[in-house]
Subunit: 315 residues, 2 copies
Amino acid sequence: MIEKLLALSGMEASSTVIEGKGSQCSCSHAILLEGVDFDLVYTPLRHLGYKAVLYVLGDLYASLRTPEALSVNLGLSKRFCYEDVETLWQGMVAACGEHGVKRISLDLNPSVNGLCISLSALGSQKKKVLDNVPQTKNMDLICLTGHVGAAYMGLHILEREKVAFTSTNVQPELEKYKAVLGSYLSPEIKSDTVSRFIEAGCIPSKGFFVSRGLGAAVLQLVKETGLGAKIYLDKIPISSQTFAVAEELNMDAITAAMNGGDDYKFIFTVPIEKHEVIRHDFQDYDIIGHTAKPEVGAVMVTPEGAELEIRAQGF
Amino acid sequence: MIEKLLALSGMEASSTVIEGKGSQCSCSHAILLEGVDFDLVYTPLRHLGYKAVLYVLGDLYASLRTPEALSVNLGLSKRFCYEDVETLWQGMVAACGEHGVKRISLDLNPSVNGLCISLSALGSQKKKVLDNVPQTKNMDLICLTGHVGAAYMGLHILEREKVAFTSTNVQPELEKYKAVLGSYLSPEIKSDTVSRFIEAGCIPSKGFFVSRGLGAAVLQLVKETGLGAKIYLDKIPISSQTFAVAEELNMDAITAAMNGGDDYKFIFTVPIEKHEVIRHDFQDYDIIGHTAKPEVGAVMVTPEGAELEIRAQGF
């Protein structure tokens, strides 16, 4: 539907970019709506503010930009008091501080229904760096910046406990789920995500923010590059707690990792010649697969060598 | 409240700007929420899309930027079908076409409640031009780019007819209100708003988009410049139909002009030395007043010479 509409426009459909002389400026823009993107029953406002900012910064880092400025527009129903907005804002300011965002603006609007958060972040990168971005080719390495699936398990625990609390009014025991809850409620993005590649002389050919599932990010990679991609199932990093919670909830950890969402990780493609640099300087990253010829499509390879097609999840 | 929160952040609170080498990139960002900012009972989706884009472009023009790129995020409840989104989008694309916006992106999100439109527009301006922006001083001319108050009258007619239609089910006779309805439903902004100043060698010292009432724009001017402002009541351009409709609705046309909103006009301050240029090359603009010493504050001067303080309207 989006493609069809963009085609209608007859304009260049792309991320929002302005070309300057020595640098390129880029905008990342998102809305988060109460009842769809977050549930205030179990999401503290400070965490929500922090996470919302990371959500837009993620797309800037993925496109190799350094965040510089943020504009926040809030739609607020009468339910929210000044202290609520202040708490939300404190989370946003904390995220900005950690990520070097120096200019910030805020606008408040009345809303009939709940909380609406709209964010627009500006980032830039030197042309010198962008000119050195290599072409994505067949057999580029696909690197994932951290483990996936935990946030989705955290969300399911929160949803389960919300239902239980509503019917029994007993405060949930959440201590044992701390890691997966943390992955969902307070994800982290390292502010040197882009700069460490530049410093290592190893600029990725492409980057994607993993926020709607690893599978969706791989499909986006395939779509944007026109190449195929092979992901090796046994290379996907999944934490032991994710496996444990998945078992407790009778869910499949691999499915959570591929389709879950809210991971706040990245996949970057890197030329295979940089294999040693990645292994040496990026030991916290996992090489989970590689790009392939276009006819391969997006596939996940099982340990037995079977190739499963990665499919889009609906919105 | 916004000031208090921005002060908390300890960061540079400003419009979202990135400094480049030869140019400066700036972002204008807004959300429009159904039931607050628009009513789909009487707002055609195509008009809404068109107007929403002008709403964000207005702030770019006011800060002397040329629009270049637009990002649209829609929150859509199940009530909306593909054709609805297409119609809305067509209005957006039309506005982009008229204003030279060449890059456009779109994202769709589910919403529980109605339609949420978030827009983020990027514009830029050459440093050469921005370096020539004069300092705002006492006795700068305040120029308004067109008549005000009509859109507010249009909105009141639509609200009145909505109520009448709901109770009687009789189709309203709207032909005689065409001008004020047009001002509300399909405002216009000229795409040469900034460039004609540059071409005339007369760069404004400040610009403000008049979208929440002329009074609010004057107050913003006073706040941002630290100067006072005097507006002359008999210089404020108000159309004859605005006066006629105000009389019919038993409302005050001056109040509509000052506090109404949705005018989609601009006020620009220009050094008094450029008086002849404005009178000659900008005959469609009205000089409605001038900046003044800070102690004057924001005042409206009546034809009898009385000075009335311009006060902020709540949101």
